[in-house]
């Protein structure tokens, strides 16, 4: 079965970012940088949408609140493919130093993910 592709790209229009010491660091992207992964996802029939609701900057820490949506097309995290749709709200915390990401911590609920993939038990994930 061919799954139609849905891709959402979120790119910032910011031209610089303010670091903890008050200095600014240039940021941005080239159109080609956004185009290349799009072409690869589209070629693979990928169905995943990432929507960023909020981005919170607190000094060198940047936290993004996002929702990932997609339809399962293959086994994932031990769960067999039943072509279920999932939507998972997540929070990603980045630490940036000198304009580079030095630390990433991602928070989401695996119970919500398994619930949406029709998994019944954590110790029998492959049995839907």
């Amino acid at each position: 079965m061919k799954i139609m592709t849905r891709i959402a790209y979120l790119v910032s229009s910011a031209r610089d970012m303010t670091l903890a010491d008050g200095s600014t660091h240039p940021t941005g992207y080239f159109a080609e940088e956004a185009l290349k992964p799009y072409e690869r996802f589209a070629a693979a029939g990928f169905d995943l949408m990432i929507r960023v609701g909020r981005v919170i900057a607190t000094g060198d820490v940047v936290t993004a609140l996002l929702r990932a949506e997609g339809t399962q097309a293959a086994g994932y995290a031990g769960a067999i493919n039943t072509e279920k749709h999932l939507d998972i709200d997540q929070a990603w915390r980045f630490v940036t130093v000198g304009g580079l990401i030095t630390e990433v911590a991602a928070y989401w609920c695996q119970a919500q993910l398994y619930r949406r993939l029709a998994v019944k038990r954590y110790d029998e994930i492959a049995i839907a």
Partner: protein, 158 residues
């Protein structure tokens, strides 16, 4: 409600309010936690959802109507509930982000999980919004509920 101060909203004052919130949480002072929040403060514990046959109950609403009962219930089920604040960072707009481990030993039922005397410890990410009056206007929290269930010996997703 807590008497508001005349201090301006800054990253430091916002972090101080949230630090006090966690100190009161550590002391199991649910009323004190609530007093640090505005009367209409929003609340969202993202992993909280109970799937019924007709609808899904979520941990979304207001601090006073959803948050307070959840905090009180958690403390009742885990009487030794304890917090470890690892990082806390804020900005001058009143946003505060905190990485906190919460742990406790289960003595009473918690949701669908029957008490088996087991202990859990799970990382949480809290996002607060502190208003100009230095009261908390919003609380969001993220964690992995599957981690808690499995540590407590509950292996059913629901």
């Amino acid at each position: 409600m807590t008497e508001t101060t005349q201090r301006p909203l800054t990253a430091e004052s916002a972090v101080a309010v949230v630090s006090e919130f966690f100190a009161r949480y550590q002391a199991h002072d649910v009323d004190g936690m609530t007093d640090l929040c505005s009367i209409n403060a929003g609340f969202s514990y993202v992993p909280v959802e109970l799937w019924g046959k007709q609808r899904v109950l979520r941990g979304d609403g207001k601090v006073r109507t959803v948050g307070k009962p959840l905090w009180a219930g958690l403390i009742a089920s885990f009487p030794d509930l304890s917090l470890t604040v690892h990082t806390i960072a804020g900005n001058d707009e009143g946003d505060v982000v905190a990485q906190v481990d919460i742990e406790g030993t289960q003595e009473r039922a918690w949701g669908l999980i029957a008490p088996a005397g087991k202990h859990y410890r799970e990382p949480h990410l809290f996002i607060f919004r502190v208003g100009p009056d230095l009261l908390i206007d919003g609380i969001n929290a993220y964690w992995n509920d599957a981690g808690i269930s499995q540590q407590l010996g509950h292996h059913e997703v629901d």
